[in-house]
Amino acid sequence: MAVMQGETTRIVLAGKEPAPRTRMPRTTGGWLTFVGKLLVGIVFIVAALFPLAWMVIAGFKSKTEVIQTPFQFFPEVWRWENYTQILADPTFSRTMVWTFLGALLFTVLALAVNSLAAYAFARLDFRFKRTMWVIVITTMFIPGMTILLTSFIVVTRLSMLDTLAVLVIPGAASAGMVFFIRQFYLNIPASLEEAAMLDGCGRFGIFVRIFLPLSKPPFVVMGITAFLGYWNSYVWPIMTITTPERFVVQQYLATFRSERSTELGLLMAGSLLAAAPVIILFLIFQRQIIGNIKMAGLK
């Protein structure tokens, strides 16, 4: 009901009918009929989701069924065993929990340090601002492979190998993230700050009381990016984490595949469960993520 009232108010205020909400089609007439568009659309959806759907189905198969000949798409009997068994496996569940906690810690740390820097670059005047901006931005162009080995040497010297710190700290500062959040802070009107300053609020107070509460849109997008980056990372963990008890989830899956290569149903169930957190996260925030592609892209 509230929605309806809102609509009515808007119409009254505008004094006329609002513009129809359907989008003007780009191509009238079109290259395809309605049915054709639907079919092509379904082809795209199937191509995008099919490998995942197949993984879900394979998770219900017994270990010999997954790649048996002749090929069978559906299992003879749908079994939950793989899912319950992998969840009951203490190594898997511990790996999932630790990867999740590590990813959360990484996300919080990354948002904290990068938003501080973003605020300084967006709103403060200080010595060497330009020089420091150039230095920070330049780091965006250093590819991971170039510094992979020397970063490894650095973390070895800092005795960080095989700890949670080696996964969380080295990647936390990110010039890309500073850039993205700064773009957002540049667009916050100065009048908000001036009002706060008249009330005796300092620069740092403005950051905490005004900028942080307004930061939800860039924080959601950057937070998800950071979380995904941590959750999906594989190469850095295989170089720095050697104790199997401390493996991250991708490392666990890759090792599982090479070491227990016959238990394919179990592997599929595990892969699905390992992908589940990021899929759920994406589905919750997909509106913000997709809406912000534009910001992250060209304009």
């Binding site: 009238t28 092509v40 795209f44 197949w54 000949t69 005047d125 999906n232 996260l281 997709i290 892209g297």
Partner: protein, 308 residues
Amino acid sequence: MTTVEKSARHDARQRHDRYRYRDTKLAFLMLAPVVILLGIFVIWPAVYAGYLSFQDWSFYKDPEFVGWKNFTDVLSDPLFIATIGRGFMFVLMTVPPMLILAFLFSSLVVAVSRRFASILKVSIYIPTIISAVIASIIFVLIYDYSGGLLNAFLGVFGVEPIAWIGDPKWALLAIAIPAIWLGMGLTSLIMVAAMVDIPVEYYEAAAMEGAGWWQKTFYITIPQMKNVFLYLLVTGFVAAIQQFELPLVMTGGGPLDSTTLPNLFIFNHFRNDMNVGYSIAAALLLFVVLGTVSALVFKFVNSERLVD
């Protein structure tokens, strides 16, 4: 100019500077975490890599300066040159198909109802959030010689089974497919965003003149999206030539090195080779090329933004 005037101006300048730089202390405090972290984990390793590339060095002996030797070694190594060629091959296999598919996809998205468009957008983006490890596991099973889905499907049309990732002829293509699957989401959505930005009036005017879909696409959509194409082409190139997680997990670079892309070549050298300088020199050479390309694009994109 008298001394008095000068010192007055000097004072004014100082006052101005004091005002201008009034936040310096706070700013440095706020920047410290990022600058220190980047310094330790990015800038120092980069400088160190530059230094090591001129040394003959391994974990077991002291570095010895060898000048450009590592670089000339890399450039005269037929294996490295071959991986670069393979990298370009891989780019050709992934980037053009991805751009064409993404263009078709975004043409579809802007031509259908809002609800169907958002279902399409969400579906295409889901693979993007899946890790390369999980994609590798799925596709290795799909490609399985005797019990895999792909050979079973092709078998329906009477095609003999193919050892997709076991046959050097097919392995690179077999790795290109999951790469496209993983990369389509972002490419498509950037294209959709660009396509939505084209003013509707252009199409209305063209429709008035009786232009069909093909004409609108060739005379309006494609020219209007020139910059986006260029941007996606270059970022796609840089991403594809640096791909190495998929071959690392799926094939380990084999069979017969047929999937050893440049970064995987370097990575394997890191793990197996005594002379670290060689691997680092190879990584730096690759970086010089890619860094130049990205910097140019970044500059280009930025200047375009200023025009708007």
